[in-house]
């Protein structure tokens, strides 16, 4: 008997409506928008004509866009191992510790995440600026050549660094919470069996925390594919190509060319790619082993 469902829908209703209005509808609208292309003249209003999948075809031969997608792979290769690896190690250390260190540690490690992207990026940007940075000041005093951290070959690393700095604390919280949730009697049983500290970590903590790590990993991949704020802010301090990340490129196409339909198509493509990766990563359900 469908008892109580009426109340459920009543309670969830407002959220669903807002969700549909501000989330679903814009996505559908963007998909619709992406099907149009522009016919232009030099001196009149441009006309939007139905172009079918023309924008999508253009995207697949758009070197700038493809380069931004390959940059996502580069970013993931740097950000994911370091930020998650560090998060796991730090979470384990916090879990082992006790007393005031724990609270202080948690707060300190979470601090970068609480700093707004714009401020964090500017902070790091100044640390990266060759003539302004205290780091380069020291390097210069050691009579070594100054490093331009915003140079093209170092830029991905420079941005990745800011991202890692900001997110490790966030990843840490997820993993630490999972660690704290491990039943204590498992440790007692292990102690009785004569397991040392590192054996406990290897055989109990790590395996039991893997589900949480998988979730954190998923969010990290989604987040890395959508990096926008850091490169956007760094543009005021040095040269950052507008296609260094897909989101920056999507934004730039809309802002510079006012080609909203092409921008929408690129956004749809990015969303599909990320969605596909999500499905791949979570084809097996997350279960506590």
């Amino acid at each position: 008997m469908r008892k109580g469902y009426g109340t459920t829908y009543l309670l969830v209703g407002p959220f669903l409506m807002a969700f549909a209005l501000f989330y679903i509808l814009p996505v559908l609208s963007a998909i619709y928008l992406s099907l149009f292309i522009k016919r232009r003249s030099l001196t009149g209003r441009s006309v939007d004509v139905f172009g079918g999948f023309a924008n999508y075809a253009r995207a697949f031969s758009d070197q700038d866009f493809l380069h931004s997608l390959s940059n996502v792979i580069s970013f993931c290769a740097v950000v994911i191992p370091i930020s998650i690896g560090a998060a796991i190690i730090l979470a384990l250390m916090l879990d082992e510790a006790s007393g005031r260190i724990v609270k202080a540690g948690r707060t300190l490690l979470m601090l970068p995440y609480t700093i707004p992207v714009a401020i964090g990026s500017l902070l790091w940007g100044y640390l990266y600026s060759r003539n302004v940075s205290p780091i380069d000041f020291v390097i210069d005093h050691l009579h070594l050549p100054k490093v331009d951290f915003l140079a093209p070959n170092l830029l991905v690393g420079a941005i990745a660094n800011v991202v890692i700095w900001a997110w490790t604390g966030y990843n840490l919280v997820g993993i630490y919470t999972a660690l704290q949730g491990i039943p204590r009697d498992l440790y007692e049983a292990a102690k009785i069996d004569g397991a040392g500290r590192f054996a406990v970590i290897r055989h109990i903590k790590l395996p039991l925390v893997m589900p949480a790590v998988r979730v954190v990993l998923l969010f990290a991949v989604i987040g890395t594919s959508q990096i926008f704020g850091e490169p956007f802010i760094l543009r005021s301090l040095g040269y950052v190509p507008e296609n260094i990340t897909p989101n920056l490129y999507i934004y730039w196409i809309a802002q510079r060319d006012a080609n909203y339909s092409y921008s929408a198509a690129l956004a749809v493509i990015l969303a599909v790619i990320v969605f596909a990766i999500t499905l791949l990563m979570f084809r097996r359900p997350v279960k506590k082993s």
């Binding site: 232009r40 001196t43 003539n131 093209p152 301090l237």
Partner: protein, 435 residues
């Protein structure tokens, strides 16, 4: 492609007496009028107060959105509502705005009658076909050479008159300072800056005929200019900072860069960002490619003021634009607060613009900066137009030049790729363009 020939047929002389158009013949809509104006330069309130005092039935609201101004305007044009009455539009962005259909053509509102008040190159920017007037010329970006006299004196360097001189001076300075001081900065990330240099060299990127464009970003003049700078970059004689970054100002402030190819509006920035260097810098004409010829220069930036098609008071909006750029009061205030150098050809005759104890002249050791740039701007050829996809071209320049700087591409490769990229993009965007 016809390049503008070396003869200086366009040279005009600065006028000796200031002339202002009779603005009373421009009648506005009846009643009280509220205009919305989108300007990104700051300090505009003084100008607005002056205007409201002269025209009490018109009230002006200023919207200042900085770098967001253009995207906001484009969105408003596309949406059909929300646009201001007047929009500040840089010359190189004008074609892209004309192509939105959002700018109101002014020839039926007397816009054409103002042509004689402006320098020819500026008029060409707002009225490319000499019939329709899409905007009112505002300030200029005449390009000259700013140099640090203190450093030049210290290393006994003469102000270079030709680019050959410049290269020789670059080498002398580099060697004498053991590589610490560079002659100048190649603004690698700014295609607009580079185009000013090409303009000054007599080059041209675009040939517009009706609705179709012939584009040539890789012609011989462009290659000559880029190769010249590529050599200096390779030898380390010039730096490659992005413009207006802390790194850039820092290098100038520390005396590591001795000069800059700068537009006249740069005088405002230099005096603001380098207060400790006050009195050390001077302004000179841009070096020439051929010696002993009349001055040539190009333009970098500068803006015009356009009336939008969404304006409910086009006559009042047009009057505001006309007043802003031809009246003595507005021109004086704008130079004083913004270092905005007018394209009005009578402006040099206004005494207030030549005060040597005020900004920016006092930064330049009391040099009559306005008069210097007046001379410089006489050498700007009117034979230059832009295209709606210029922003893409400018972005692509930065990308391609990055390869040049890292030593991975030659100037010719850079320019050919630049040309290819940009044509492909323009075609994708629906424009009629060819090589």
């Amino acid at each position: 492609m016809n390049y503008w020939p070396g003869s200086r047929a366009h040279n005009h002389h600065a006028e000796d007496e200031f002339k202002q158009p009779d603005l009373s013949k421009f009648h506005v809509e009846p009643g009280t009028i509220n205009l919305e104006v989108w300007i990104w330069s700051s300090g505009f309130d003084k100008v607005v107060s002056l205007f409201e005092a002269a025209y009490p039935n018109i009230k002006i609201k200023v919207g200042n959105y900085g770098n967001d101004t253009y995207p906001k305007a484009r969105t408003a044009f596309k949406a059909g509502t929300g646009a201001p009455d007047v929009l500040q539009v840089e010359y190189m962005m004008l074609p892209s705005f004309i192509a939105t259909g959002g700018l109101r053509e002014l020839s039926d509102l007397g816009g054409g009658s103002l042509q004689s008040y402006y320098v020819p190159w500026a008029w060409r920017q707002v009225s490319p076909d000499s019939k329709r007037v899409y905007s009112v010329p505002g300030d200029s970006g005449a390009v000259g050479l700013m140099y640090n006299k203190k450093i030049f004196d210290q290393y006994q360097i003469e102000v270079p008159k030709t680019w050959d001189d410049y290269a020789a001076v670059a080498e002398k300075l580099y060697k004498a300072s053991n590589g610490k001081v560079k002659i100048g900065n190649f603004t690698a990330t700014n295609g607009d800056w580079f185009s000013g240099l090409v303009w000054a060299a007599g080059g041209r990127f675009f040939d517009v005929k009706g609705d179709s464009v012939k584009q040539s970003l890789n012609g011989p003049v462009v290659e000559k200019v880029l190769t010249f700078w590529a050599n200096l970059i390779k030898k380390g004689y010039v730096s490659t900072y992005a413009y207006m970054t802390p790194d850039f100002w820092n290098a100038l402030g520390r005396g590591e860069v001795a000069s800059g190819v700068e537009a006249v509006w740069g005088t405002g920035f230099y005096s603001s960002f380098l207060p400790a260097e006050k009195g050390d810098w001077r302004v000179a004409p841009l070096p020439e490619w051929e010696g002993n010829k009349p001055l040539v220069s190009g333009n970098w930036g500068g803006s015009s003021y356009a009336v939008t098609t969404q304006s409910k008071y086009p006559k009042a909006a047009a009057l505001f634009c006309y007043w802003l750029n031809t009246s003595k009061q507005a021109i004086s205030i704008y130079w004083e607060t913004q270092s905005a150098f007018p394209t009005d050809k009578y402006a040099n005759a206004i005494p207030e613009l030549h005060k040597l104890d005020q900004k920016p002249a006092d930064f330049y050791g009391g040099q009559d900066v306005f008069a210097e740039y007046s001379k410089i701007s006489q050498g700007i050829s009117p034979d230059w137009t832009w295209v709606p996809w210029w922003s893409y071209i400018s972005d692509a320049f930065a990308k391609r030049v990055a390869a040049l700087i890292s030593g991975n591409a030659t100037p010719k490769q850079v320019l050919d790729d630049w040309q290819q990229d940009s044509i492909e993009h323009a075609k994708n965007e629906g424009f009629d363009v060819s090589n």
